[in-house]
Every structure is written in structure tokens, then in C-alpha cells.
């Protein structure tokens, strides 16, 4: 039997000032990472509402990663601290609901860290691929 190569769906939220620029730098430096990663640009990582992450998992995302400026370097001074706390809470709740902790991640990537962005995405995709499809929260009604 031929096995289709499984490609996970990954949503990456990147803050405009650091991580999105870091992702751009990865591109400028031609540092490859899997095409499964699709970036959504947000002004600050603190714009990411837990609702968006739940929505992503409902809609069949297999992993969600949020990238922001390094602690202390937030363009809006304190946004990423809120992200850190909110996501710690959300991820433990998701874990309780059966969304493995490895499917969610917060990473700090500065505008100068193109290499870190690519490495992080490579690692994250690998981790999520190993976990396989997200079935737990997927809302089958969305599949139509």
C-alpha cells in the first residue's frame, strides 16, 4: 500500500517588528524551512487571542506557533510578557483537552535572527509531523 506523505498544517503568528522581519531575513538569506508553515502577521504577539488558536485547531491545524520579540525587547514595551503568560495558561488548558503541548509553542525571534526563525520552524514542523494529525479538537463540520 502506498502511504501518502503526511504534511501537517502549521499556523505561525509573527509580530510585525521582530519575528516577521526575522522570517523575512530567513527568506533573504535563502534559509529553507518547510512550506507547511504559513505566517500570519500581527502587530504584536499580544494581539494573538487564544480564540485564534482554538479556531486554528478546530479548523484542522496540526500545530500553532507564536513568535514575538525577545522579552524586554517588545516594540510595545510589554506585549510579549502578556503573550508569555496568556499562552502558558492556554497551552496547559489545551494539553488538558488533548492537544499535546508539542503542538503549541511560543518562541522569541528577533529581526536579526533569520537563522533562528528557519531552525525553529524546521524543528517545530518535525515535532508536529511526528505527532501526526490533530484529531482531538478538529471540528468535522468545518471539513465540508
Amino acid at each position: 500500500m502506498q502511504v501518502n506523505e503526511y504534511k501537517p498544517k502549521i499556523v505561525a503568528f509573527c509580530c510585525n517588528w521582530c519575528s516577521y522581519a526575522g522570517a523575512d531575513l530567513a527568506g533573504s538569506n535563502r534559509l529553507a524551512y518547510p512550506a507547511e508553515v504559513k505566517v500570519i502577521r500581527v502587530p504584536c504577539s499580544c494581539r494573538v487571542n487564544p480564540m485564534f488558536i482554538l479556531r486554528a485547531f478546530q479548523r484542522g491545524a496540526d500545530g500553532v506557533i507564536i513568535c514575538g520579540c525577545h522579552p524586554g525587547d517588545c516594540h510595545y514595551t510589554s506585549g510579549n510578557y502578556y503573550t508569555r503568560r496568556r499562552m502558558a495558561l492556554l497551552f496547559s488548558m489545551l494539553d488538558y483537552l488533548g492537544i499535546e503541548k508539542e503542538r503549541t509553542r511560543v518562541e522569541w525571534v528577533s529581526a536579526a535572527e533569520g537563522a533562528k526563525f528557519a531552525a525553529t520552524m524546521n524543528d517545530f514542523v518535525q515535532t508536529v509531523t511526528a505527532l501526526g494529525e490533530n484529531k482531538r479538537l478538529e471540528d468535522l463540520r468545518c471539513k465540508k
Binding site: K9, V11, N16, W17, C18, Y20, A21, A23, D24, A26, G27, S28, R30, L31, A32, Y33, A35, K38, V39, I40, R41, V42, P43, C44, C46, R47, V48, N49, P50, M51, F52, R55, A56, R59, G60, A61, C69, G72, D73, C74, H75, Y76, T77, S78, G79, Y82, R86, S110, A111, A112, E113, A118, C142
Partner: protein
């Protein structure tokens, strides 16, 4: 329903090389709201923009999706195009199919597939976009320059000459920076003081420049055009406006054993001091760490000898609050510490010195009055070895040194070698180098002169070890061209230490919310096209705080930064960012959650009248956002439990539509 036009850019072969642009345009045709989907070689070119404008007219488009390079690159361009075509500039969304697609993927099929998803995501978002109008804010016509070295001095002079007020904040007691410590400057060999001190005087005498010396920036609030800055004016225990700079106190002070930082600790100064003769402001400063009077309450000699009555032992740090329209970071550099390079015996022998120390030794105003004497015994050295790249280009030893090239060392080492041979023809000079890098006007000619006219021995290879032996230093190194190991006896070893950003830059960057690279150099908004601007609006970069630079480069960059500041201050009003938070008063329950998380204090509460049931009137407490203060981070939108707070341009519905489009 929107009428969306999709424009897929080839970017020459940058995108078209790994993304089938025609296929992307075709696939996006069937997306909701799309009435036109096409592709073109260079969307950002004039022809491309004209094409967009024509399409808007012809197809009565209400929204645009441009599948092209990063929005950080051309979002502003296409917003202008939209405005010129008569639609709201915020009805444009960019799908980043270059940096985040074509450049990272090699496979055409994979790239095309991803580009379609990214295009679909942008279409999903633009379907929910609403026209936005930015607010306006006034511009405070005063600039702040942080750092009073040659970079800060030049920037301040250029801004002030254009008619705007400038304040310089310098943490040391005098402006002048590193250049004031130099002896001669390459490649012309004119003396640093002769070209710097007149500029320092110009600054001091300029009617539109204020100098806050011995001061530091304490806090920065606000945004472009409207920064609120607190400056800490450190207590110098001398009344600046009364001191005449006669220097009598600095001669009479009994505390003589204070290492003189201006001479890099190679001689001593008093506890009350003026760093150097041409200091600006020429005012004495008491070093509280060493002053007997401040420490024990017993002395007071300086106060007794001061005829101007300028000494004030009770002086306290003073806080100055000022508004600025623009801020220039000009915090400069320092040579790295030699602690981790003990193979060169820097800590073991006084006769192993850094290049900046050598600079002071050669300087007529230095510790030896310009005579080249060994620090250990005051004897003239007859054999000098210069070691280049100490801590620079250290990719394999990043924990010790720096990966980058410090850029200035090749030239100043050639200068030192040449000056030594010129002044002391009996002295033998050897330079160990990895490469000699001389890309600059008259630079290579200068280096050739050192070799050919002055007979400096250049040896390609690194020094592995320096060991003191008696009153000599044994230098062990390799000659890569002759392919042999060398053991040279030297009287003096000079290390060209790598340079790094000043330690004050990191906390300053945090205050300014300006980004830095991994080496703590400030990042530019664009490395090629916006090299003197920080990505944070209103913050500009001057000099070596952005990267290693020599004096000519620093001065040109300082002028460029000034030009950008002038361009900003010349405006009466700035158009703000319309992507700000907005509270739906009908949904707001007045809980204050949003107010607590807002880093700018942009949210206020007020009681408002609403229509209640049965024609009654209800008074409810609701949040409102001050759009001039809100910077649009969106933190409040997540904190809001009732969902009343949303962010224009990045609304929850828009982001969820993007999520849906990606997960489809």
C-alpha cells in the same frame, strides 16, 4: 461585497523562479470577491502601478491583494498606488510570496501551492477590510541626540544649522568621545584634536544646541514626533554655570591616585578633574568614588581654592523632562576587554597594550607627552609587534571575541606603524595580520606607503602566544607565506582589539523600543535603503552604534541621520497609524481590563448616556481609546472579556478569516 483585484508579481525571477505566477493568478480567480486576477513582471515598477490604477478604474475595484515581496518592503508603495487610484490605502493587503515563499522553497510545485494559500489568506482578509483614515499628531520641533562623540556632534550641528533645536546627552563630563582620545587620523594624518575641537566649540556656542554632559537618558515615553524624555543630570558637585574651568582645583586636590580613564588608566588624575584641556563644557567634575570630602566629610580643598565659588558638595542628581520630535542614537563603541585573551599576556605585562592605549602614548597630551616609552620602565622600545584582529573575525571563538570585522583596525595599525617609523626610524616595526583590508579612498595607498616607504614588516599570520621574559616579550606566531613558525623578541606588543557597541546601547534600545542585532548594534530599518533609520519611527542612528565605522563614514552617516531628522521636524503634522484599537460601546461593560494592560495609557473611561428599554435613559461606564496615543499593539483586544475591543486593520474577524484560509 468587495470587488477585489489580485496582482501577482514575478519580481523578475525572484518569485517566478520557484512559483508559477500564472497558475497562482488563475487559482485565485475563483476566490470570493475576486473580480480580476492577473500577473506582471514587476508590480512595483511604474508600469506595474499604472496597471493597478487602470484595473481599479476598469473593474471598479474596492480592494487589492498584491502577491509580491514582504509588506515590510512595498506595502507603503502599493498603499500609495491605491490612494492614487482613488481607493482607501488600507484596502490593500500583501501576500508575501517572496521572502516567505519563493526564496525559501526550491520546488516549483511546493512554492506555487504555498503561494496560492498565502494569496487566498490575503483575499480572505481584504474581504473584511474597512477603509481607515489616519489621525494627525503635532511634531515637537526639537531633537535629542544621545551620545556626544563625533557622530552626535555632527548630527547635532547639522540639525541645528537647519534651524531646529537640539539637545545632546553625553554620559561623560565632556563631549568629544573616542575621537578626542586619538592622536592622528588616517589616511591624511591630520591631528584628531585639530579637526575635532573646533566642532566641539561650535556645538558649545551654537544658539540652538544645549549640551547635557555627565547626564544619561532615564526614560523615554511617547512616539514619533512626541517623545517625552527624562534626562538624569548626574551630580558633578560643581555648579556648571559658575565654574570657569580655570583648573586650579584639579591641581590642588590632594587625592592624586585616581586612574585617569581618558588615558585609559595609564596615568592618574585627581578626584576633581577636567578630562582634557579642550573639554566641552570646560567644567570640573568631582568623582564621588574618590573624593575625600564626599566620602568622609573632611577635606574641602577644592572649595577653598575655588575663587568662583562653584563647588557644591550637596548637589543632587537632577531630572530634566523635555519633549522631542526625533531621537538620534549615537552611543558609539568601545574596544573589547582583553580579559579573555590571556595568550597575549595583556594582564601579565604592562608592555602589552591595546591600540587605543598606544594612541594615548603617541599623543602629545597623553601620559608620556607624546614620547613613545614603555609603560613598564619608561624606556624607548626598539622592537614593536602589532597584532591585528584580536577578537575580530573570531567565528570559531565567538564566546571570546566577535564574529564581525571591526573594520578600522587595519588602517589604524598601518597608521601607528607608519607614525612610529616616522618619529623613531631606529625602531623596528612588525605587523601580524590575517588580511589587510583597505577599502576606502586613499586607504590602500596609505597602507602601501607604510610598507614601501616606511619599511614596516607585514607578516601574514596570527600570533599564538606572547610571553614576558625578563624585560622582553617573546612573540610566537606563524608566517603563512613563508610557511614557518616565528619567535620574535619584542619590547612592546600592541593589540588591535575588536570594537563593540557601548554597554549603554542595550538598555537604551529597550527604552527606545529600537531593535538590535545579536551583537548589540542597532538595526537599520533597511540595510541598504534606510540605513540611518531604526525600524521604530522617529528613532535615527548615527555612527558606530549601528556598526563599526571610521571617522569619514561616521561623519557622513551623522549628516544623513540629521537630514532624516530635519525631514521629520520640518513637518507640522504627522499622519498617524490608523490601525488602532477601537471599543464598541454597546458591548463594553466598563470592566477596566483593557485599561490595565495598555502600555500607553491610551484608554480612558467615562459615563455615557445610552437609550434604555421603554424610552428610559441608561448611564453606563464605557471605555474609549485615544487614537493619537494608541500605538496599535492590540493587547487590550485579548484582555477584553466582552469582545468589545477590536483592532482596526487587524480585527479578530480578519485574523480568524486568515486562520480559516490557511487551514482550508
Amino acid at each position: 461585497m468587495q470587488r477585489i483585484g489580485v496582482f501577482v508579481c514575478w519580481c523578475g525571477s525572484n518569485i517566478a523562479g520557484t512559483v508559477d505566477v500564472a497558475k497562482v493568478a488563475e487559482a485565485l480567480k475563483s476566490e470570493p470577491g475576486v473580480v480580476l486576477s492577473t500577473n506582471y513582471q514587476y508590480m512595483c515598477s511604474q508600469a506595474g502601478q499604472e496597471m493597478i490604477k487602470e484595473a481599479v478604474k476598469e473593474h471598479k475595484l474596492t480592494g487589492l491583494v498584491i502577491c509580491s515581496c514582504s509588506p515590510r518592503m512595498h506595502e507603503a508603495t502599493f498603499r500609495k498606488t491605491a490612494a492614487a487610484a482613488g481607493i482607501n490605502p488600507y484596502m490593500v493587503e500583501i501576500a508575501n510570496i517572496r521572502e516567505q515563499c519563493s526564496w525559501i522553497h526550491k520546488d516549483m510545485e511546493e512554492g506555487t501551492e504555498k503561494a496560492i494559500v498565502l494569496g487566498r489568506t490575503a483575499i480572505a482578509k481584504v474581504n473584511l477590510n474597512a477603509p481607515l483614515t489616519p489621525g494627525e499628531s503635532p511634531v515637537t520641533k526639537r531633537a535629542l541626540v544621545i551620545g556626544g562623540g563625533i557622530a552626535g556632534i555632527q548630527t547635532a550641528l547639522d540639525i541645528a544649522d537647519a534651524g531646529f533645536y537640539v539637545d545632546i546627552v553625553e554620559k561623560k563630563p565632556t563631549i568629544g568621545g573616542k575621537m578626542a582620545q586619538l592622536d592622528k587620523t588616517f589616511p591624511t594624518l591630520d591631528c584628531a584634536a585639530c579637526i575635532l575641537t573646533p566642532k566641539m566649540v561650535d556645538v558649545a556656542q551654537h544658539e540652538r544646541i544645549r549640551i547635557f554632559s555627565y547626564s544619561e537618558v532615564e526614560s523615554v515615553k511617547g512616539f514619533v514626533g512626541n517623545f517625552d524624555v527624562t534626562i538624569r543630570k548626574k551630580a558633578r558637585y560643581v555648579k556648571e554655570d559658575v565654574c570657569t574651568g580655570c583648573g586650579l582645583c584639579t591641581e590642588k586636590c590632594p587625592q592624586k591616585k585616581v586612574p585617569n580613564e581618558f588615558n585609559l588608566g595609564m596615568d592618574n588624575r585627581r578626584a576633581i578633574y577636567i578630562p582634557f584641556a579642550q573639554a566641552v563644557p570646560k567644567v570640573a567634575t568631582i568623582d564621588a568614588d574618590y573624593c575625600t570630602m564626599l566620602k568622609t566629610g573632611k577635606c574641602g580643598v577644592c572649595s577653598k581654592v575655588c575663587t568662583a565659588k562653584a563647588i557644591d558638595y550637596t548637589q543632587k542628581d537632577e531630572f530634566i523632562e523635555e519633549k522631542y520630535g526625533a531621537i538620534v542614537a549615537a552611543t558609539g563603541f568601545n574596544p573589547i576587554s582583553m580579559d579573555k585573551f590571556d595568550e597575549f599576556a595583556y594582564s601579565q605585562s604592562k608592555d602589552v597594550i591595546t591600540s587605543l592605549e598606544f594612541e594615548r602614548l603617541m599623543n602629545a597630551a597623553g601620559p608620556t607627552a607624546g614620547k613613545l616609552l614603555r609603560p613598564s620602565d619608561g624606556v624607548h622600545p626598539h622592537k614593536i609587534v602589532f597584532v591585528q584582529c584580536v577578537g575580530s573575525r573570531c567565528a570559531s571563538c565567538a564566546e571570546k571575541g566577535k564574529e564581525y570585522c571591526s573594520k578600522i583596525c587595519c588602517m589604524y595599525t598601518a597608521k601607528h606603524a607608519m607614525l612610529t617609523r616616522d618619529k623613531y626610524p631606529d625602531t623596528d616595526v612588525t605587523v601580524f595580520y590575517i588580511d589587510v583590508r583597505t577599502p576606502g579612498k586613499q586607504f590602500d595607498e596609505f597602507y602601501r606607503r607604510a610598507v614601501e616607504e616606511y619599511g614596516v614588516h607585514y607578516i601574514k599570520g596570527m600570533v599564538g602566544k606572547v610571553s614576558p621574559e625578563g624585560n622582553k616579550l617573546i612573540v610566537q606566531g606563524s608566517d603563512l607565506i613563508a610557511n614557518k613558525q616565528l619567535k620574535i623578541e619584542a619590547d612592546l606588543v600592541v593589540l588591535a582589539a575588536a570594537i563593540e557597541p557601548d554597554k549603554s546601547a542595550r538598555p537604551l534600545a529597550t527604552m527606545l523600543t529600537a531593535s538590535m542585532d545579536t551583537n548589540d548594534f542597532f538595526t537599520e530599518a533597511h540595510p541598504k535603503l534606510r540605513p540611518v533609520e531604526s525600524p521604530t519611527a522617529g528613532i535615527f542612528l548615527s555612527g558606530a552604534c549601528q556598526g563599526p565605522k571610521d571617522i569619514p563614514e561616521t561623519v557622513s552617516q551623522a549628516g544623513a541621520a540629521a537630514a532624516k531628522v530635519i525631514g521629520l521636524l520640518a513637518k507640522d503634522k504627522l499622519t498617524g497609524n490608523p490601525c488602532v484599537a477601537h471599543s464598541d460601546e454597546m458591548m463594553c461593560n466598563g470592566c477596566s481590563s483593557c485599561e490595565k494592560v495598555c502600555p500607553y495609557g491610551a484608554i480612558t473611561y467615562s459615563d455615557k448616556e445610552f437609550r434604555g428599554p421603554n424610552r428610559t435613559t441608561l448611564i453606563r461606564r464605557v471605555a474609549s481609546v485615544n487614537e493619537a496615543i494608541c500605538q496599535g499593539c492590540g493587547c487590550c483586544t485579548v484582555a477584553c472579556p466582552s469582545g468589545a475591543m477590536d483592532l482596526k486593520g487587524f480585527a479578530s474577524k480578519q485574523i480568524m478569516a486568515e486562520v480559516d484560509a490557511i487551514c482550508k
